[in-house]
């Protein structure tokens, strides 16, 4: 029983980091029908922004050394600027392009960011020690509850709630939802399309920056491809949860985290290497039963 509870805690904590990433990808998809694979690279940028830009093998913290209240907004700002730049330079000229074209463009953005990071910082992975104070645990009997996982979970839930409130209660949020529902109609009615989309990119940048900080605290290492697997699993989470639904993205993130962790914990050793294959088989199963995802979005329903 203790072992199962422990696995559940591990699963939820992995799920929350996927959920946070999925939230950023899901938001952009909801508004722009853009599957942004560069989202993982926004995370990479946020993590590398912590250190002094140099190709030296030993990384030195720069922004990462500042107090929390200064560092967090600064990192968010940097990632938001990168996200907005990718919109202005790449996605805005492609506004009328089809979804597949946008997706391919996002691959290109991802590739450019990765190689840019490699040019400025070198290819050797970097090591940073960010907030190691958060890497402690609370012991409840034999149960180990990592402090950092609690933090990640709380941040995920808070950001999801804040985003939902923003979308429901603020004028910009309402414009954003209108744009998500029917972009052309919304613009006819006076919604400024580029502003709304820019706003969505900025928010996805903030979400990516949050993942950067939390994930770097957990792993302590940076590499130019660090965001890639996160974005991949988060994308799957968005699909499982229901494309275009924010709650769906979060639910999907937790579902993927739980499936992967439980498979890792309970598969026999010789099958563990194929864990991801089992996980994706489960995803296919979910989609066969619920093609629109676990929490289908009303707006995407009729379009697909």
């Amino acid at each position: 029983m203790i072992a199962f509870l422990q696995n559940l805690i591990d699963a939820v904590s992995l799920g929350s980091i996927y959920a946070l990433t999925a939230l950023g990808i899901g938001l952009l998809f909801g508004i722009l029908r853009l599957i942004n694979f560069a989202h993982g690279d926004y995370i990479t940028i946020g993590a590398y922004a912590l250190i002094v830009p140099s190709a030296d093998v030993t990384a030195r913290l720069m922004i990462g050394e500042l107090p929390l209240v200064v560092m967090t907004p600064l990192i968010c700002l940097i990632v938001v600027v990168v996200a907005l730049l990718s919109d202005v330079l790449v996605f805005r000229p492609l506004r009328r392009a089809s979804s597949p074209t946008l997706m391919i463009a996002s691959f290109a953005v991802s590739y450019i960011i990765q190689n840019g990071v490699m040019m400025f910082y070198g290819a050797r992975p970097k090591a940073v020690d960010l907030w190691s104070g958060a890497n402690t645990q609370i012991l409840i009997g034999d149960l180990r509850v990592p402090m950092l996982q609690l933090i990640i979970l709380v941040v995920t839930l808070v950001l999801m709630a804040a985003l939902t409130l923003f979308l429901r209660k603020t004028p910009y949020g309402i414009q954003m939802r209108a744009a998500a529902e029917d972009f052309r109609m919304a613009t006819y009615l006076g919604v400024r399309g580029n502003l709304v989309i820019g706003l969505a990119f900025a928010i996805s940048g903030i979400l990516a920056a949050a993942v950067s900080l939390l994930y770097t605290t957990q792993s302590g290492s940076l590499s130019h491809t660090m965001g890639l697997p996160l974005a991949l699993f988060a994308f799957v989470a968005v699909v499982v949860g229901g494309m275009g639904s924010l709650v769906g993205a979060v639910v999907g993130g937790f579902a993927i985290g739980i499936i992967v962790t439980m498979l890792q914990a309970y598969l026999p050793p010789e099958l563990r290497a194929f864990r991801d294959a089992f996980a994706f088989a489960f995803v296919i199963l979910v989609l066969l039963v619920r093609p629109a995802g676990l929490v289908p979005s009303r707006t995407t329903f009729e379009r697909v």
Binding site: D10, A123, G220, H224, P229, T261
Partner: protein
């Protein structure tokens, strides 16, 4: 007139590569390695070390009275480009080819050399396939087999640290990691140690929390007294950070891939962490190695980051001795001498080759211990039994 000019220019350009680049009184050494892309971080220092050896050797009069000339081609961390780079250097008349430090990335260039009957050497691959089996009889690797690293740690841990009950944590992403752990898994029972459990992860995994949970249980219930972590950075540093953060404080052994101190910021207060190296970048007990490090630092402004810079220097020493003995740089003649070399004294210790084994499998290694950002030698270790072929080629699982 303009047309004529273009035609002339065109013919000059097309004729250029056909000019014989090779003078009879020179030896041409080709370097088909990554000068760009992510492999550059790993190829770069060994390539610089090779340049340093060539400079020193030329200052001493070269090999067989001939100066050594270097030609290079960038593999761009790409296997297809690697084959092209290899072909290009072979065509330009290379007498020997240095290729990338990894079997997968170096083999395409090495195969070009093998096809042309030219000796090739991987500047740091630890896969025994990087040689006779994977490329051909004229191919070598400057490095030791990854299995040796695992075996050294198992035996040293048993004898020197009294470590009896092991737990293997393997990052399945790289063959290197699996090979290092295969060596550990082979040696531990030979010493009457016990492998209590094992688990795997992938370097892309966002967390290894469920692996930590299983390990913590094995420590609590089955008396595991050390962990063998077979992984490479960045995953390795991240795994170690997560292990220590979860309160796993027993000794952790690892393989050479984690050498260097560039990653220790990932694990605050690092201690009880050990791995084997062929040379120490800082404070190597051997004066010759320290002198070499100093020469490297003088030429390039900073010392090597890891021990992977050194093996190619040792190989080039062996190659020069073999060429001198054979009286020629002809690849087949040199390889015949290299194949017979046993315990040849190189700057980093005795090295041997055999006709079927072009990788080091029994050289002494220094075990280093970490204390924060300090990496210090805690003694030299040579394994007491030769690694059998099924372990070296991981034939059974």
């Amino acid at each position: 007139m303009r047309k004529l000019l273009y035609a002339l220019l065109g013919s000059v350009v097309t004729l250029l590569p056909l000019q014989p680049a090779r003078a009879a009184d020179e030896i041409t050494l080709g370097m088909a390695v990554a000068f760009s892309g992510w492999m550059e971080a790993y190829d770069g220092e060994a390539t610089k070390m090779a340049q340093l050896w060539i400079e020193e050797q030329n200052a001493k009069g070269g090999v067989l009275g001939k100066k050594i000339k270097v030609i290079t081609a960038d593999t761009k961390t790409d296997r297809v480009e690697g084959a092209k780079a290899g072909k290009q250097l072979v065509d330009e008349g290379a007498d020997m080819l240095l290729v990338s430090a990894d079997y997968d990335y170096g083999a395409p260039a090495a195969l070009q050399a093998q096809k042309a009957g030219i000796i090739s050497v991987f500047i740091g691959a630890s896969d025994p396939k990087a040689g006779v089996l994977g490329v051909g009889p004229l191919s070598f690797t400057a490095n030791n087999a990854a299995q040796l690293e695992g075996a050294v740690m198992a035996e040293w841990g048993y004898e020197k640290k009294g470590l009896r009950k092991g737990y293997m944590l393997v990052d399945e992403t790289l063959e290197y990691n699996k090979s290092a752990c295969a060596g550990y898994e082979w040696m531990l029972p030979l010493k009457k140690g016990e492998l209590v459990g094992q688990d795997s992860f992938k370097s892309q995994d966002a967390t290894i929390s469920s692996q930590v949970t299983r390990l913590a249980e094995a420590i609590r219930n089955k008396g595991v007294d050390h962990v063998m972590l077979c992984s490479a950075n960045p995953a390795a540093a991240s795994a170690l950070r997560q292990l220590r953060a979860a309160g796993v404080s027993i000794p952790v052994l690892s393989a050479t891939a984690m050498d260097g101190t560039y990653w220790v910021n990932s694990v605050p207060g690092l201690k009880d962490f050990y791995l084997p190296v062929q040379a120490l970048v800082k404070d190597d007990p051997r004066p010759d190695v320290s002198a070499l490090t100093a020469a490297f630092e003088k030429k390039y402004g900073k010392p090597p980051t890891t021990q992977y810079a050194y093996p190619i220097y040792a190989f080039l020493q062996m190659w020069a001795a073999a060429a001198t003995k054979a009286g020629t740089t002809d690849s087949k003649a040199v390889v015949a001498v290299l194949n017979e070399m046993s315990d040849f004294p190189t700057v980093i210790g005795p090295r041997s080759f055999a006709p079927k084994l072009h990788v080091q499998t029994r050289n002494p290694m220094f075990v280093v211990s970490y204390d924060g950002d300090k990496e210090t030698s805690v003694g030299e270790w040579t394994i007491t039994q030769p690694i059998p072929d099924p372990v070296l080629y991981r034939l059974k699982k």
